[in-house]
């Protein structure tokens, strides 16, 4: 399945490598975590109410829809967090989480 977001401009930026659900992925320097995850895939997380997935909503830090997990068990707000080289991001809670 193709990515959700489409790049229209500013595509000449250096590549950044990160991990998405355990697989190698790339994004561009200056991408937010949300942009990185949704240009590499389609979803940010599972909905905790109901069976669907979520992909963010407001992109301005107001709705809190886009909090995602990291492999280390941390959580971050995808729309307002810049992607950093080597980040390990998950669309599901890590198995080790209590």
């Amino acid at each position: 399945m193709s990515a959700r977001l489409v790049r229209l401009a500013e595509a000449d930026r250096p590549l950044l490598a990160f991990r998405l659900d355990g697989r190698a992925a790339t994004a561009l320097d200056g991408d937010t975590v949300l942009t990185a995850m949704l240009t590499a895939g389609r979803d940010l997380r599972q909905a905790e109410f109901g069976s669907g997935t979520r992909a963010g909503f407001c992109l301005m830090g107001a709705c809190q829809d886009c909090w995602v997990w990291t492999e280390g068990g941390g959580r971050l707000r995808a729309c307002s967090t810049p992607l950093v080289e080597g980040m390990a991001l998950l669309t599901r809670a890590p198995d080790t989480w209590p």
């Binding site: 977001l5 229209l8 320097d29 909905a47 992909a55 830090g61 709705c63």
Partner: protein, 454 residues
């Protein structure tokens, strides 16, 4: 000792408030959730992006650049303290000032103040549409931020729906940037739009620019649309089902939808700081109570869209006015606010015209099918809320306790207005009678780890 003034928000209002204070020799602390000052409408892309201001901000490029430069210069000269990527999550006040609890890059912290200026802006006012909880449905503001700050479109074929100036603006920005905009569905009928023109004539240039933008959207734009359903697969939207002004059913295929009906003032922090509220029939929402310069309570000032929904120009003015009010109350020399107040009155007239031309579609909301997801945070339906109102009565906070609508991640920011409308109509009472959801701290989530490390 010089007064400690804290400004929350570095958008047009916060920047102009800071300018007024810095001009009088004060050294404000400016907290902002963004990486770089500018707010949402004049949001700056990260370093390394290359599109010109004209491309990013269109006809408003001059204003945007002036604000960015002003703020950067004040910060570089050490005239203010800028705390970027920092959220104010709670506030305690006392007779001498108070303390803000913060969450930022270094974890949690506090900052004390003698006076507080809250310029927290606004976010999209959205209403539920059957299917809107699907991944790939966003707010209109989100579509604009994605384009401006990241250079991306939210999908390959986008339907924009709602009403208000942002609808036309975002649509034309997306079209210009090369996105495929399948349809622009305005729920305001043409006759209603024309009825707002008399007041909108207070700013003829702006009105003409909007009309020209609208013309360029051509056949994509539909006035008087009724939204029936966002049909979605597990992957996201597949089509928007709607009816045109003549009531004929239409189906527009798409893979992304952006919704917005003008703006909703962001007032959680102002409320925790003690300000009162009045229901505004014009804006169909509760707005903070303050004098024309933004004085809300002793030592508390409000500015920008978080006080009155006047847009970026109005925010600049009201930011400056709040700064001047703060200076005057400190007994410091301050410019005469009269000329700015006069300009503000003109903007208020224009904004009222906009509100009348592009109204909140209350009737559509009242007719929302029971199956519609009302609270997208916790997947609670309109039917469940109506049932809660049957048990608990027509009061916003009780309906929240019983149904959980307003208790989720967004803390009611994207459901409270719709919920009040539905509860009121179900109980046969008026929306202001339902009351408003009380704000609760923290107004932004704060990971338990950040608090525990402190």
């Amino acid at each position: 000792m010089t007064a400690r003034v804290v400004i929350v928000g570095a958008g047009p209002a916060g920047i102009r408030a800071a300018e007024a204070l810095v001009g009088a020799g004060l050294h404000p602390v400016v907290l902002d959730e963004g990486e770089r000052a500018g707010g949402q409408i004049y949001r700056r892309p990260p370093a390394g992006f290359t599109r010109s201001p004209a491309k990013l901000y269109g006809s408003e490029a001059g204003r945007a650049v002036a604000l960015h430069r002003l703020f950067d210069r004040m910060a570089a000269d050490g005239r203010l303290t800028h705390r970027p990527r920092t959220s104010a999550i709670a506030v305690r006040t006392n007779t001498a000032g108070g303390t803000l609890q913060l969450h930022g890059p270094d974890g949690v912290g506090e900052v004390g103040f003698d006076r507080l200026i809250v310029a927290t802006g606004a976010s999209d006012r959205v209403l539920p549409v059957l299917g809107w909880e699907a991944p790939g449905v966003y707010s209109l503001g989100a579509a604009q931020i994605a384009l401006k700050a990241q250079g991306v479109a939210l999908g390959r074929r986008i339907v924009l729906a709602g009403s208000g100036p942002l609808l036309t603006l975002v649509a034309s920005q997306l079209v210009k940037a090369g996105a495929e905009v399948a349809a622009v569905l305005d729920t305001s009928p043409l006759a209603t739009q024309l009825s707002g023109l008399r007041e909108m004539a207070a700013r003829p240039g702006l009105t003409a620019r909007g009309a020209a933008m609208r013309l360029r959207l051509g056949r994509r734009y539909h006035a008087g649309a009724t939204l029936d359903e966002i049909v979605a697969s597990p992957e996201g939207p597949v089509a928007m089902l709607w009816r045109d002004a003549k009531g004929r059913p239409q189906r527009t295929t798409c893979d992304a939808v952006a919704l917005g009906w003008h703006l909703r003032a962001e007032t959680h922090l102002a409320e925790l700081a003690g300000c009162g509220f009045d229901y505004s029939d014009t804006w169909a929402q509760w707005l903070p109570r303050a004098d024309p310069q933004g004085r809300a309570e002793d030592r508390l000032y409000l500015a920008g869209d978080g006080l009155r929904l006047l847009g970026a120009d109005g925010a600049e003015l009201s930011g400056r006015l709040a700064g001047l009010a703060c200076l005057a109350d400190l007994g410091l020399p301050a410019a005469d606010p009269a000329p700015d107040l006069k300009r503000l009155a003109r903007m208020l007239r224009f904004a009222r015209g906009l509100a009348h031309a592009f109204p909140w579609p209350a009737a559509a909301l009242r007719a929302l099918p029971d199956a519609t997801c009302l609270c997208r945070c916790e997947a609670i339906t309109a039917g469940a809320l109506r049932e809660a109102a049957d048990y608990g009565g027509a009061e916003a906070n009780r309906a929240k306790s019983l149904s959980r609508v307003g208790m989720g991640r967004c803390q009611g920011r994207y459901c409270a207005l719709a919920a009040a409308e539905i509860v009121a109509s179900h109980a046969g009472t008026a929306v202001p009678e339902v009351g408003r959801l009380r704000a609760q701290a923290p107004v932004r989530p704060c990971p338990i780890g950040a608090a525990a490390q402190d």
